[in-house]
């Protein structure tokens, strides 16, 4: 492996550490009486609110339409994802140190799969959150589901829900891209030398 590729995969791993310190996604709910917005912030290992009480207040409002309570403890992804990314960081550094090209390819393939799987999983979670409603909810509107958007904004009854990726996701994208570039460089370098 070239020093450039080793440097790139090391950099990718360093950047990936950032996702433990920056949120991945932010969903904000606006309403006439919530001009400042109720904010739900998704991290790799937790879900927090824009204020210490936002999550509680979102749950409270959502119970009227029968949405499930968001309880970070009951979301397995928040326990699995930190381990997965921890492994990827470790693997990245191992690749950089050993210069093993196979490890590098494995890293590139894995991060692509993890990235896509995470997005699909997130969508499914949002789908379930918005569709799996308590049949005894006080407010029932036929045909209405409350799945929040993934990118952009959407009107859900009196709320306007806006969701956008946050710093952590961008760091992850940069990290993944750097790793893939590293793998591509190695791939073409190999082909040239062969």
């Amino acid at each position: 492996m070239s020093w450039i590729s080793r440097g790139l995969i090391a950099l990718a791993s360093i950047i990936m550490i950032g996702i433990y310190f920056k949120p991945l996604w932010e969903i904000t709910l606006y309403a006439p009486q919530y001009r400042e917005g109720l904010k739900m912030i998704i991290w790799v290992n937790k879900i927090t609110g824009g204020t210490p009480h936002d999550l509680r207040n979102i749950n409270l409002l959502n119970h009227y339409v029968g949405m499930k309570k968001i309880d970070p403890n009951s979301i397995p992804e928040l326990k699995i994802l930190p381990v997965i990314f921890g492994f990827m960081i470790f693997l990245g550094f191992l690749t950089a140190v050993t210069g093993n090209t196979k490890l590098l390819y494995a890293w590139a393939v894995l991060i692509t799969i993890i990235g896509i799987a995470s997005l699909v999983d997130f969508w499914w979670w949002e789908y379930d959150y918005g569709h799996n409603l308590n049949p005894h909810a006080p407010i029932k509107i036929p045909g209405m589901a409350y799945q929040p958007p993934m990118f952009g904004c959407k009107n859900l009854l009196n709320f306007r829900a806006c969701a956008f990726p946050s710093t952590g996701t961008y760091l992850l994208a940069v990290s993944g891209t750097l790793g893939v570039i590293s793998a591509v460089i190695e791939f073409f370098r190999r082909r040239k030398t062969q």
């Binding site: 210490p52 009480h53 509680r56 207040n57 409270l60 009227y64 006080p138 407010i139």
Partner: protein
């Protein structure tokens, strides 16, 4: 090219000049606060006989909040809930009403700082502290050996003391004497209350003074720091038909109290410890449960035994207000029956004391010579001058009751600048920070005693009226204040205080943190809700959240029981209060803020099923926020049973 540039410049300047008049706002524009914007000032107006403080926004004049202080307030349960009852305890027992007079903001270096508002009660002498983070009354101290606590609650520039005094002299200590022997038995007290420590209000000392009517006060600042000034009338010592008998003398007195000297006398042991009993009520921010501490003695200073503690400044005709200029150098007396406004000089007073320019002595209190202390007499001011505020630009504004106007004058040069009318018969007046070392001289609010035709008639009883004036330009250009608005007021505002919103608004809390709720009867979650019987007493640990109570069905209560509903609002969102009312309750409802626990006592008298409900329209399903208590006969064998929704818990 150059010519073109010149032309452009010229047109720009011309356009600017032409458009300038359009920047001048009309009075309507000046008081209009559009949606999304807030008022520039908070104004705190005493409510007089309603025992409350009204919080208004200025310049809009909108009433924002009523703070109950010395009167019960069924709107939110103040004085009724178990957590607030003790606030109204006195040595005479629980008193549901009071007469609020003079609000005073706490100060740092003579400038209002927005920590607290103090206010006095005139009828059963007391002084209260209002915490300006919550806009709630948190502390009340009773003043022993006092009656008609009117010269109160004026503050020292460091908030160390607030004043109290006897407008009505009484036998001190109280005893059964013929009223006609007033001169022999009746005395006054000038009281200094330690005020700078929340929860620790204390009578620092009382100065025993001759039995006159001590009317109003203000404390010195800057050079006059260490002094407070109290007006007196009825130095004639009349006890009947005072309107004639107390208006005989040409001059009464302003009592100048050197409180630094008083502190010295206390330190030197020159005081008398007197046994008595008075209440100190405090509602701490931890458990928010008011409690009464009984205090048992006060320190008396007798002027004869502490020379230099009080001097009398002769002042014309039953002076009412006494106000100290922002620089602390001038003391203006509102001689309400006088034809002039006397302005005393603090420097002259100190010199007169040094040179012993005394006209006499009363009970060990030297009377200074009028000419020796008087800076000037403002000639032909108005009729019935009462109170004075300052704009911080060298002008004094004195309210004149009889002539229904405010006279504006340069108090150093003793020269009238202008006058503005009031509608009608103005009492107090207020400029934001107008009695402090640094007035925000933008608005003037005279508060009137007679309203008549100012507003739509509302039967015989009318609201009091205040007039808002813009005085921001009046002092600089010599121009007149601009009339802006009539403000309809609650009760009878005596004095008022105002402070820029930017100082106060950021301090205002939004919710009470549930985690920090230290009420022993708090219910932090629905799982913790329960009903506990202890003999004849039933404690209901209840939660309120949109849109239900837990428990909302309660059985096993019996006639003869005393039921305590300890309701915790477990919301943690801004402006989501819940109310609680139960059928037949003889006290009031509760209005419970997010994170707060309040308790309502209820004694059911007849068997039956009694509904309770949320009184504050909290949510879309507010109407569903209701429940029932089943009350069984005294000898019934119904177990305690409670729950919401699912299965009922049965207590065996």
């Amino acid at each position: 090219m150059k010519a073109k540039l010149k032309l452009t410049l010229f047109s720009a300047v011309a356009a600017g000049l032409v458009s300038m008049p359009s920047f001048a706002q009309s009075p309507a524009e000046k008081v209009y606060v559009p949606h999304g914007k807030h008022d520039e000032f908070y104004a705190f107006l005493s409510g007089g006989y309603n025992g409350q403080v009204g919080v208004y926004g200025l310049p809009s004049g909108r009433l924002l909040r009523v703070i109950p202080v010395f009167s019960v307030f069924p709107m939110n349960g103040y004085g009724y809930s178990e957590e607030t009852k003790a606030m109204l305890m006195t040595s005479h027992g629980f008193i549901p009403w009071g007469d609020t007079h003079h609000p005073e903001l706490s100060q740092t270096n003579g400038v209002p700082d927005g920590r607290w508002l103090f206010i006095n009660e005139n009828n059963t002498p007391r002084v209260a502290r209002i915490d300006l983070r919550t806009f709630e009354t948190t502390e009340i101290i009773e003043i022993p050996f006092s009656a008609g606590n009117h010269a109160s609650s004026f503050i020292t520039p460091d908030s160390k003391y607030v004043t109290a005094a006897t407008r009505f002299s009484i036998p001190i200590p109280q005893k059964d004497v013929p009223i006609a022997e007033y001169k022999k038995y009746f005395k006054g007290t000038l009281t200094f209350i330690r005020a700078d420590k929340p929860g620790k209000m204390d009578i620092a000392f009382q100065i025993l003074v001759p039995g006159y009517d001590y009317d109003l006060a203000h404390c010195g600042k800057g050079p006059s720091y260490g002094w407070c000034f109290f007006t007196s009338y009825n130095t004639e010592q009349a006890h009947t038909l005072l309107e004639i008998n107390a208006s005989m003398k040409d001059k009464d007195y302003i009592a100048a109290v050197n409180w630094k000297r008083a502190e010295q006398c206390i330190a030197e042991g020159k005081y008398k410890e007197v046994k008595t009993k008075y209440a100190h009520n405090y509602r701490p921010e931890t458990d928010r449960i008011a409690r009464t501490e009984w205090k048992t003695s006060v320190k008396w200073i007798i002027p004869k035994e502490c020379p230099g503690v009080v001097y009398y400044l002769p002042t014309p005709k039953s002076p009412h207000g006494v106000d100290v200029s922002p620089d602390g150098k001038y003391i203006i007396g509102g001689g309400k029956l006088a034809t002039v406004i006397p302005i005393h000089s603090f420097d002259k007073m100190i010199n007169a004391i040094k040179n012993k320019q005394f006209a006499g002595e009363i009970d060990g209190i030297p009377v200074l010579k009028y000419e020796a202390v008087n800076h000037c007499e403002l000639p032909n001011p108005c009729l019935g001058p009462l109170h004075t505020e300052f704009d911080g630009k060298g002008h004094a504004y004195t309210s004149c009751f009889i002539s229904s106007d405010v006279v504006i004058y340069d108090y150093k040069k003793c020269k009238v600048v202008s006058r503005v009318p009031t509608y009608y018969s103005v009492g107090h007046l207020m400029i934001p920070g107008g009695d402090s070392a640094k007035p925000w001289g933008k608005y003037l609010l005279p508060m009137n005693k007679i309203t008549k035709d100012v507003f739509l008639p509302t039967g015989a009883e009318l609201p009091h009226a205040g007039q808002l004036y813009d005085i921001s330009k009046s002092s600089v250009t010599g121009g007149k204040p601009e009339f802006l608005l009539d403000v309809a007021e609650l009760g009878e505002p005596h004095y008022a205080q105002a402070i820029p919103a930017k100082i106060l608004a950021p301090k205002s809390i939004k919710i009470f943190e549930l985690d920090k709720n230290k009420n022993p009867y708090v219910t932090r979650s629905e799982e913790e809700a329960k009903v506990v019987r202890k003999g004849n007493v039933v404690h209901v640990y209840m939660t309120a959240i949109r849109s239900h109570f837990t428990p909302d069905n309660i059985e096993g209560v019996k006639v003869g029981d005393t039921v305590y509903f300890h309701v915790t609002n477990i919301e943690q969102d801004w402006d989501i209060p819940h109310g609680f009312a139960v059928f037949g309750a003889k006290n009031s409802n509760l209005l419970i803020m997010p994170g707060e626990t309040l308790t309502l006592k209820w004694k059911p008298e007849k068997p039956g099923v009694y509904p309770f409900y949320c009184t504050d329209f909290c949510s879309a399903l507010h109407q569903e926020m209701q429940g029932y208590v089943r009350v069984s006969p005294k000898d019934a064998n119904v177990p305690i049973k409670y729950g919401t929704g699912e299965e009922m818990h049965v207590v065996k």
